[in-house]
């Protein structure tokens, strides 16, 4: 073997023989792994080689010719971006000839490129400007007529506007749309000088609107319509923060001009997302300027809410609950939103436990009951707190219960990247189609609730236990088995659909069992959830759980008495379902809601309404008015996203910063401060005066945070540590989960599922003007054939009716959709979708009827 061979321990812990190559670049001796490109080797040495069409993540093109370098022995200059290094190669990147050619290429581009700098958005951060400044001649010799495609910029959709004259044909936009996003909406038409990039018949109406094409455009050809003409890059004040939407945890750079939100971009080398974002992160942040904000504390007196001071609000709360020493914790409950920061959530659960003596706390309106018993086993050593990209190098990847393309688009991009190594290792099982299905090793449509059975069958198949043939689940299991048996590494990604369905607890228990079995067979397994909220994992790690303390530690662990000064309550608490039931039965004195909106979100509207009208006192700490605040007795205005800093934990178990970009609006206060002040109102000092102190305190108590300090949370965030094996030991004697009740299909009903659509996340994104411009109202989606059989057409207004209630929406027909399934996104509060659902039943059977009144 030529060259030096070295043993190198890679991040994944695998040892391997890496063949090293020695070459010379600009008289510098360079030692790099075989397969490295000359361009990469040069850049690693700090040698600047200009490129337009090259982008690390994208397929090589070598069309711009900027990176041409001289290689001894080659007659022509060679493009460094596609030339692999070879032993003994001698490269020169700074010869006169190379300089001349770079200047020539730039002069050729400038011949037709319009000198629009004064009116072009990109000016100041334009790669063409930068390159001409660095490598170009000062004068252009071209005096003839420039080629002009159009005198006007062409809007391709609501967020993308295009100036074709400026395009330099680098094809980054086309490639990112096809290879990373997978939408394949952009293409190239005509040839020669008429070559232009565009969408089908000059429209991008039906693309993802993610704007990644704009992000990678080196010039001002593709522009962001909401940002156009708003600012110059040097006017902008940038704040790096984490996306508030799903759990992927993309790093955002939020830019403001004179305090006004101007745009959101991302830094290429940072975060799980790199240069990409999805439409929600890129265009949805303007939700902070939308919605009905609560600017002062409000108190309900004689049926109406009126503005009061903070002192009055706290006094009213104290008066209602009475003597803190006599508080009956079992009659008090709290619900916090998993979009709050770790610091806030930590103080929340501390407040509920120490001030109100209760473990009745929860962090979600939407999950099935019983899952908290099964979770601890999965969040110990089984949860891989590692970059998602690493997990996707596994020999077998199972994605269960997630419509990744809609719920976690940027995670979908990474999964697509992993397919390039061989799609046959990826298997997806979900209710709704995802864009990855087509290229995966196998995909299965299964109703929420069937995940448990799928995992159980897989576990049995690996255990060698014969099962009755159970098409299509059984067939799918056999396909997975063929791959998983020879796999050395296995990654499981679990979505939120699995958590919603009634058999969620069984699914999680079987999941743990499956993973232990794979471990026992000598495989390295990794688990991550694909959460659809930015800090669901943080909420759990911070102990917003009825049966666990921070760090998944058991109620009654001595460390907390030492840390908090007195022991927290040891009686296991009620989850959201039980809390609401007790409220409805008149057994609860107070419900404290932090950012939560159960009236809109809880999957049983009747129960919620009964509960909230029957509870003794409803306290809501929130930023926005909602159907829930309309019921509240005391409203405490909290800071919204961007008005306070804190940490969040994303799906990868990575702690990242959310940073403030402005002060809380009006009289609103930071959420953590409010919670402390509530404590004070009850004569309780919660101890943590600042978020930094909160971090320090919980870092000592939460095992996965041991050794981490806020200083460690740099640009890349910091991975929490793998926790010790958790759980109460493997449950034995798990019964085979039943098949879901598909028999409903015989009566012609469809099974209604819900979740995020591709353009919205949770309940705040509809406050975004830009996102609402793209998708501004709800809809029901069913299969094309199904719609035709019902005699319905795309766009018809229909009534979707369940046994409990109905709603009126427009119909969407989707060829890829499975028969018997209907989907309505849960992002539109006014749709009152939860009127159709009843507790414990998910999905719910519905009829779809034409709306004759329409």
């Amino acid at each position: 073997m030529k060259g030096n061979a070295r043993f190198t321990e890679r991040e994944t812990g695998q040892e391997g023989l890496i063949h090293m190559v020695q070459l010379t670049i600009d008289d510098i001796a360079v030692d790099v792994p075989d397969g490295t490109l000359v361009l990469e080797a040069a850049l690693a040495q700090g040698i600047d080689v200009p490129t337009f069409c090259y982008q690390k993540r994208l397929s090589p093109l070598a069309s711009c010719r900027m990176c041409l370098v001289a290689i001894e022995g080659a007659a022509k200059l060679q493009p460094a971006c596609v030339t692999p290094v070879m032993d003994g190669m001698v490269v020169h990147t700074a010869t006169e000839q190379v300089a001349k050619i770079r200047a020539s290429m730039l002069e050729l581009l400038l011949a037709n490129h319009p000198l629009d700098c004064p009116i072009c958005d990109k000016s100041g951060e334009c790669e063409l400007q930068d390159m001409v400044f660095e490598y170009g001649a000062g004068v252009s010799r071209f005096h003839d007529e420039k080629r002009v495609f159009s005198g006007r910029d062409l809007p391709l959709n609501q967020v993308i506007i295009f100036n074709s004259n400026r395009c330099i044909q680098c094809q980054r936009c086309v490639r990112i749309c096809e290879e990373v996003v997978g939408a394949v909406a952009l293409g190239t038409v005509e040839k020669g000088m008429d070559t232009a990039i565009t969408g089908f018949e000059n429209s991008l109406e039906s693309c993802d609107h993610c704007g990644n094409c704009i992000e990678v455009c080196p010039v001002g050809a593709l522009m962001s319509k909401p940002y156009r003409y708003k600012a110059r890059p040097w006017d902008l004040v940038e704040t790096d923060t984490t996306c508030p939407f799903c759990g992927t945890g993309c790093q955002l750079t939020v830019s403001a001009r004179d305090g006004q939100l101007a745009r959101v971009t991302s830094k290429y080398e940072t975060g799980v997302n790199g240069e990409t974002l999805c439409v929600k992160g890129r265009y949805g942040i303007d939700f902070i300027d939308g919605g009905d904000r609560i600017e002062t504390p409000l108190l309900r007196r004689n049926g109406t809410l009126s503005a009061v001071t903070w002192e009055e609000a706290y006094a009213a709360l104290r008066q209602h609950i009475g003597d803190p020493a006599a508080v009956n914790g079992s009659r008090i409950g709290g619900l916090a939103s998993p979009t709050q920061s770790c610091e806030t959530l930590y103080v929340f659960q501390k407040m509920m436990r120490m001030v109100f003596a209760t473990n009745n706390i929860d962090s979600s309106n939407r999950w099935a009951s019983g899952i908290y018993a099964a979770l601890p086993g999965l969040f110990g050593d089984l949860y891989a707190r590692r970059p998602l990209g690493e997990l996707l190098e596994a020999d077998c990847i199972l994605v269960i219960g997630s419509t990744v393309t809609d719920d976690n688009p940027v995670s979908d991009y990474l999964l697509r990247g992993s397919l390039r190594q061989g799609g046959s290792k990826l298997f997806l099982a979900s209710a709704r189609p995802s864009r990855l299905d087509r290229d995966a090793g196998g995909h299965l449509r299964l109703l929420p609730g069937d995940e448990a059975r799928l995992i159980a069958l897989l576990d049995n198949a690996l255990a060698g236990t014969a099962d009755e043939a159970d098409a299509p689940l059984g067939e799918f299991v056999q396909r997975i088995v063929a791959t998983i048996e020879s796999a050395a590494t296995v990654t499981l990604l679990i979505g939120v659909d699995l958590l919603r369905a009634p058999r969620a607890k069984a699914a999680l228990e079987w999941l743990e069992r499956l993973m232990r079995r794979l471990q026992g067979a000598g495989k390295r397994v990794a688990l991550q959830f694909l959460f659809d909220r930015c800090n669901q994992m943080g909420a759990w790690e911070m102990g917003v759980l009825p049966t666990r303390l921070p760090g998944w530690r058991s109620l009654g662990e001595a460390a907390f008495e030492r840390a908090w000064g007195k022991p927290p309550p040891s009686e296991p608490g009620a989850d959201v379902h039980t809390m609401l039931e007790r409220c409805a039965a008149g057994e609860m004195d107070m419900l404290y809601l932090l950012g939560s909106d159960p009236v809109a979100a809880y999957a049983d509207r009747d129960l919620v309404e009964k509960a909230l009208s029957s509870v003794g006192l409803l306290v809501v700490q929130a930023a926005y008015r909602s159907a829930t605040t309309a019921q509240a007795d005391i409203i405490l205005p909290g800071a919204a996203f961007g008005e306070e800093s804190g940490t969040v934990i994303g799906n990868q178990g990575r702690v990242q910063m959310i940073r403030e970009i402005r002060r809380p609006l009006g009289d609103a206060r930071r959420n953590m401060d409010i919670l402390r002040q509530v404590g004070e109102a009850f004569d309780c000092d919660l101890g943590v005066a600042t978020r930094q102190e909160a971090f320090t305190e919980f870092a000592r108590l939460v095992p996965s945070f041991h050794g981490l300090s806020l200083d460690d949370i740099g640009e890349a965030g910091a991975l929490t540590a793998a926790a010790p094996r958790g759980g109460d030991g493997e449950p034995d004697g798990l019964p085979m989960p039943a098949r879901s009740d598909g028999s409903r299909r015989d009566d012609g009903k469809l099974m209604l599922v819900t979740g995020d659509c591709g353009f919205h996340s949770g309940y705040v994104s509809e406050l975004s003007t830009t996102l609402s411009d793209i998708v501004g109202e709800s809809y029901v989606e069913i299969g094309l054939a199904e719609g035709q059989a019902l005699g319905l057409a795309q766009g018809d207004v229909v009534i979707v009716r369940s046994g409990r209630g109905e709603t009126r929406v427009r119909l969407r027909l989707n060829k890829q959709f499975p028969p018997g399934v209907a989907f309505i996104p849960e992002n539109f509060a006014k749709q009152n979708l939860n009127r159709l659902f009843s507790r414990g039943e998910y999905p719910c059977p519905v009829d779809i009827l034409p709306d004759h009144a329409a």
Partner: protein, 158 residues
């Protein structure tokens, strides 16, 4: 999509291991069956082949013999490349413009004739050469052009 066209496209799909390969033949078949290559027919082809619409659009626009704008009943394509240029294609172009009263790249008002200049047709030894639709006409001259046009649209008897 017309059932007959669909069948012919499906037959040609079987020649290739990927569906994308059938885009170009499908467009040719559609054009041959009288379709103008824009709008719905492109979507139908994309649908039948299960490929993104943009791929069909890209291919349509790349090739000069695939038309997304209407072409006259008789498409006169005059070669103006070197051998034909050296054999007097320039005066012949002028003659055609004069006879048809349109410029290169234009269509007569009655929709009968479209006149375009094209690149080498591979008949250089019989220059100057032109094509009318799919048929070659070689060794052309002003007189032979007049005869040709008279044959295509006979003048009414005086």
């Amino acid at each position: 999509m017309d059932g007959d066209l669909k069948e012919r496209i499906e037959a040609i799909m079987s020649r290739y291991p990927t569906r994308r390969s059938a885009i170009m033949p499908a467009l040719c078949l559609a054009q041959e069956s009288g379709e103008l290559l824009r709008g719905k027919i492109l979507k139908d082809i994309a649908d039948l082949l299960e490929v993104p619409e943009i791929w069909v659009y890209e291919v349509t626009s790349f090739y000069s013999m695939l038309y997304s704008e209407p072409v006259g009943k008789f498409h006169i394509q005059l070669c103006t490349n070197v051998s034909c240029l050296l054999s007097r294609s320039t005066p012949l172009l002028e003659h055609l413009k004069q006879r048809l009263q349109i410029g290169a790249g234009e269509t007569t008002a009655d929709g009968l004739y479209t006149l375009t200049t094209v690149e080498c047709l591979g008949s250089c030894d019989t220059a100057p050469v032109l094509m009318v639709n799919e048929v070659y006409h070689e060794n052309m001259s002003e007189q032979r052009i007049d005869t040709l046009l008279d044959q295509l649209t006979p003048q009414p008897a005086a």
